[in-house]
């Protein structure tokens, strides 16, 4: 198979399967071999599952032969972040203390994808425990630092590092990641792929590692916005096994979104000053494209809350409870990043009143965003304000000294939108020094179709999402 296959969107692969240009078995074999050969070079592969997928692919080929079409994901290989359980196989959560952990159940999202005929060919690497303790090095992972296909001396982002690298490098057509606060948006931006964080409760978390019960979301990383819509439609839906489930379904129907020139999109002009000068031209061009689409640009500021303290307290209190045994047993010291281990220990010191205060403020945050979305339909901001750092660069390094603007703009959009449970998407909007730059959109709850429609229109007008990283041999 050629690179055209490895970098093709889902719809194209499915069409070619139906035309019998290749079989599902052949497709799984080709992607599986590529994932097993190149995945370790990016530290992206946690567990190969190609042999199991090949057996399953024979059934899919039988269905295709009999024209039993089950939808656009039928016969499409994919990878899943290694925090999703797959019965009978190791699920390490990217962390040494859980290296031998095996569950006897499979995550709901993987069962749902199996029902569509898509084929799990590998578990993908991640930052240990999804970075819940706060990590300061890219190497905070059982599989080593996630390496970026655009420059392997740089980080793929976290905590869904493997899904970001694997999609960008054409090792899988799509992958499932998870986000508590930034873990889909960040690797999508750094790796130059399209990543969708669904509304809290839209996708079942059953079978996924819990980091924060009130913040965790599962979502896709793909080549295009359209692919994200197709995958989300397959994995969304109510689940009685997930106490946070909203009980809602999702139908990918961008055709029913209001005309894009009727949509108002909020932005903070000061974001340009916050951004690294190297990425400013890409951001300028991206904003110009949104204007060309006809979107009504509205200046705004994010509501003013202590975002960092809120997100750290909520994740900290919930993760300390979840990992209490790991922490008190001392096994937490087996984590690769000592700052993460110490971070988790310290979270045991968060008091009940502090957690409750954060959750009470969160009620106000939700109210504030409801007010924000009375006047606008979407918020736009840089997904990250700089390109990805070098893998040996401390992640708590404040970067080059530059004067910071007085107003924060949207610099807290990732924690803010996660605290409010809002959906978001990051898609490539340009390059700086050969590295991808991502643009982020955020919408009101359950308005994923708005995000996808705008991102898809952007991708009709640009080709950043079609660029391919340099080939590794």
């Amino acid at each position: 198979m050629t690179d055209d296959v490895f970098f093709a969107p889902i719809t194209e692969l499915n069409a070619r399967l139906k035309k019998r240009e290749f079989s599902a078995v052949e497709l799984v074999k080709a992607f599986g071999e590529r994932l097993e050969k190149l995945g370790p070079k990016y530290n992206a592969l946690a567990l190969p599952l190609t042999k199991i997928a090949q057996k399953r692919a024979k059934d899919v080929d039988g269905d295709l032969k009999r024209e039993r079409f089950r939808g656009p994901l039928q016969g499409i290989p994919f990878g899943a972040k290694d925090l999703l359980s797959f019965a009978g196989h190791p699920t390490t959560w990217g962390a040494k203390p859980y290296a031998d952990q095996v569950f006897d159940t499979t995550a709901t999202v993987l069962d749902k994808l199996d029902d569509t005929g898509s084929l799990l060919i590998g578990k993908l690497s991640m930052v240990e425990l999804a970075g819940g303790g706060g990590y300061r090095t890219a190497a905070a992972s059982l599989t080593g630092p996630g390496l970026n296909p655009w420059d392997v001396t740089r980080w793929s982002g976290g905590s869904s590092s493997g899904p970001g690298s694997a999609v960008a490098a054409g090792l899988v057509p799509f992958a499932l990641g998870s986000e508590t606060s930034g873990s889909i948006i960040t690797p999508a931006a750094y790796c130059g792929v399209t990543g969708l964080r669904p509304t809290y409760g839209l996708v079942s978390r059953h079978g996924a590692m819990a980091l924060s019960w009130t913040l965790d979301k599962i979502g896709p990383l793909c080549r295009t916005a359209e692919d994200c819509g197709l995958v989300l439609a397959a994995i969304a839906g109510g689940d009685s096994d997930d106490p946070g489930s909203a009980g809602k379904s999702f139908y990918y129907s961008p055709q029913f979104v209001r005309p894009l020139n009727e949509l108002k999109i909020g932005f903070a002009p000061v974001d340009r000053e916050w951004a690294d000068p190297a990425i400013q031209p890409a951001l300028d061009a991206a904003m110009a494209t949104l204007k060309d689409i006809g979107m009504q640009m509205v200046e705004m500021q994010l509501p003013d809350y202590p975002w960092g303290a809120l997100i750290s307290t909520i994740i900290g209190a919930e993760s300390a409870s979840i990992f209490e045994e790991l922490i008190t047993s001392g096994q937490v010291d087996q984590l690769a990043d000592p700052s993460q281990a110490e971070g988790l220990k310290s979270k045991l010191g968060i008091t009940a009143t502090q957690y409750l205060k954060a959750m009470r403020i969160r009620s106000l945050v939700q109210r504030s965003f409801r007010e924000v979305f009375e006047n606008i339909d979407l918020i736009v901001a840089p997904a990250r304000y700089e390109v990805t750092p070098k893998i040996d660069e401390p992640l708590d390094d404040d970067g080059p000294d530059r004067p910071h603007p007085a107003r924060p703009g949207m610099t807290n959009l990732i924690p803010a939108s996660n605290i409010a449970g809002l959906p978001g998407i990051s898609f490539p909007c340009g390059f700086a020094s050969g590295l991808p730059v991502g643009l982020q959109l955020v919408a009101p709850p359950f308005r994923e179709n708005n995000l996808l429609a705008v991102a898809a229109e952007f991708q009709k007008r640009t080709d950043w999402h079609k660029r391919r990283p340099p080939a590794l041999t």
Binding site: G131, G132, G134, R136, G158, T180, S181, G182, S183, T186, T199, Y200, G201, L211, T214, G244, A246, P306, W307, G308, A309, L310, S312, T313, I315, G316, I327, P338, S339, E342, G343, K345, S346, K347, L348, G349, I350, T351, Q354, K357, A358, M359, R360, I361, R362, S363, Q366, P389, L395, D396, D397, D398, G399, T411, I414, A420, G421, L422, P445, F446
Partner: protein, 67 residues
């Protein structure tokens, strides 16, 4: 969770209490960063930031978290 370098500076993680673990910090070779102390300080700072945030008594926590 991923915090930017900028956010990590802003984010003071929170609060209180020297837990049992905090009472017996591991010895730290000179010149190396004391991650335990930094983490506890962050928890402390976050608690202080939240404490300063005024909130009406009637506001309940977002436990029934529906987006």
């Amino acid at each position: 969770m991923k915090l930017t370098r900028r956010e990590l500076v802003v984010v003071a993680a929170s609060a209180a209490a020297a837990s049992t673990l905090a009472q017996t910090p591991p010895s730290q070779p000179q010149g190396e960063r004391d991650f335990a102390r930094e983490a506890r300080d962050n928890v402390q700072r976050n608690g202080e930031l939240l404490a300063k945030f005024g909130i009406p008594m009637a506001v309940e926590p977002a436990f029934q978290f529906k987006a």
